[in-house]
């Protein structure tokens, strides 16, 4: 674990891997929610693949860095890392244009791909690509497939995809290179809703197969 400088009002924590980032993110969010110095200055906690960024206008980097170090010393990243969000069920029609490719790449049948995708809950690791987009991890490891060689210029909203260790749902139509296995009608992002994002870091997602 390293603490890197990120300006007057931020610190960037670099962890060995995503599991450590997610465990630390749970602990930091809990500390920020409790408040008190130095956490009360933190307005944003931004997890990514290897890092956790803490930002806030009143964030004082030195004491926050010390507090993160103390917290990291007692946080253990393992399979039992607790989540701090809700479990969201996402109904999916497994009719994606890349379902057969995913089956071929994984050596599974299309039916087994669906069973693997729905069989274990996924965890919301981080966002950042677009409002409401969530990188989901912790699913069946047999589903790791590379991105498409050529990204699609437009992936429809609600498309459910796979890429590397991640699964995700496109909140709105956008270019994308993930392998698309299905479609959902669930609204990932609604600015009029509170909170606007359905999937938030720390939460769990269970995909449920439904008929067209």
């Amino acid at each position: 674990m390293r603490i890197l400088p990120a300006g007057e009002h931020a610190v960037l924590v670099e962890a060995p891997g995503l599991a450590e980032v997610l465990a630390l993110a749970v602990a930091v969010r809990a500390a920020v929610a409790r408040g008190g110095a130095p956490w009360s200055g933190v307005t944003d906690v931004v997890p990514a693949a290897r890092t956790l960024l803490l930002v806030g206008d009143r964030l004082d980097p030195a004491p926050v860095a010390d507090a993160v170090r103390r917290l990291a010393a007692v946080v253990h990243a393992d399979a039992s890392t607790p989540t701090d969000g809700d479990l969201v069920e996402v109904p999916v029609r497994y009719d994606g244009p890349d379902l057969d490719d995913v089956a071929r790449l994984t050596g599974l049948t299309a039916g087994e791909v669906v069973a693997a995708h729905t069989g274990t809950p996924w965890r919301v690791a981080f966002g950042g690509f677009a409002p409401g987009f969530a990188y989901l991890v912790g699913g069946d490891p047999r589903l790791r497939v590379p991105r498409r060689d050529a990204p699609r210029p437009s992936v429809p909203a609600g498309s459910v995809g796979l890429a590397g260790e991640f699964s995700g749902v496109y909140p709105r139509a956008s270019p994308g290179g993930w392998r698309l296995v299905g479609t959902t009608d669930v609204v990932l992002w609604d600015a009029e809703r509170e909170p606007p994002a359905l999937l938030r870091p720390g939460g769990l997602v269970r995909f449920v197969a439904v008929d067209g």
Binding site: A6, T43, R50, V55, D57, P131
Partner: protein, 294 residues
């Protein structure tokens, strides 16, 4: 009758901005808000606001508004010819617009963005808790256009303290920006590589970022980092990203929440405000500081 500002004419770009929407970065929404926070806040304080109401961010002047009812305003940031009711009016001062009076803000001689704050704030619908337009995500009010009528909200309980503020206007010529080490400063062997040569502001700069072209040889990564791929990581306002091409990008208010190029330096808050006033073609020098000037 509630008062309002009627937009008669707009220039290159006029946006509604406030202090932005912090707290949503983890779900992919940046803070946004006024690009030059200091100038925005000064305009708000001049008209008696200690909160952060929506104001107009005017790119390169060209704005004409007409008051409906009596309206108190202040204009800060980039300094251009300012005319109220046909007479020249001072910058960074409390100005009274009588019913029907017009305010015209011409093109600034230095700087890029002016702020027009109104006592009572501009009472447009908020999106995710803010009335800021985020040009990257498209969240927030639509750009301001001629014919828009912007309602003025209720005046706050607080009153203007001063009727005029003495502030240095954005500078013409070479601008010095103070930088602190970024998380990936070691990729280029420290800040010295960034502060040695001069930079020029590129033409394709906007609220997302200011592009800086090196005057001399581009800054090279150290050999041990030459081929490194950085997994995307969280970004801050003022981050100086260095993609392989050698052109640096300084992130402004509407920067992406995460990015995959190394951040080798981060501007101080005051310098991030100054960066929001840079014009294409303007010369820039980066200066390493250890403790930011308050």
């Amino acid at each position: 009758m509630t008062s309002a500002l009627e937009v008669v004419r707009t220039g290159a770009q006029v946006l509604l901005e406030d202090a932005g929407r912090p707290g949503l970065a983890a779900v992919g929404v940046g803070r946004s808000g006024a690009a030059d926070r200091g100038a925005y806040r000064l305009a708000c304080r001049l008209v008696g606001h200690r909160d952060d109401p929506a104001a107009l961010e005017v790119l390169l002047g060209g704005l004409v508004v007409r008051a409906r009812g009596r309206v108190l305003v202040a204009v800060t940031g980039a300094v251009g010819p300012l005319v109220v009711g046909g007479r020249p009016a001072p910058h960074a001062a409390v100005l009274e617009l009588r019913d029907g009076a017009e305010l015209a803000l011409g093109a600034p001689t230095a700087g890029l963005r002016s702020y027009l704050a109104v006592r009572g704030g501009l009472d447009v619908p908020a999106a995710l808790g803010s009335r800021s337009t985020d040009v990257l995500s498209g969240i927030g009010p639509a750009p301001v256009r001629p014919g828009d009528v912007l309602p003025v909200g209720p005046a706050p309980a607080t009153f203007p303290h001063v009727d005029h503020a003495v502030v240095p206007p954005p500078a013409p010529g070479e601008v010095v920006l103070d930088v602190l080490p970024g998380p990936r400063a070691s990729w280029v062997g420290g800040l010295a590589s960034m502060t040695r040569g001069g930079w020029v502001v590129g033409p394709d700069s906007d609220r997302v970022g200011v592009r800086l072209r090196p005057v001399d040889a581009p800054v090279e990564r150290l050999p041990e980092h030459a081929g490194d791929e950085l997994p995307s990581e969280g970004m801050v306002r003022g981050a100086v990203q260095l993609p392989p091409g050698g052109e640096a990008v300084v992130f402004l208010a509407d920067h992406p929440v995460t990015g995959g190029y190394p951040v080798v330096a981060v501007l101080t808050e005051a310098s991030a405000d100054r960066a929001a006033q840079l014009r294409p073609g303007q010369a820039v020098r980066l200066r390493a500081v250890t403790t930011p000037a308050r």
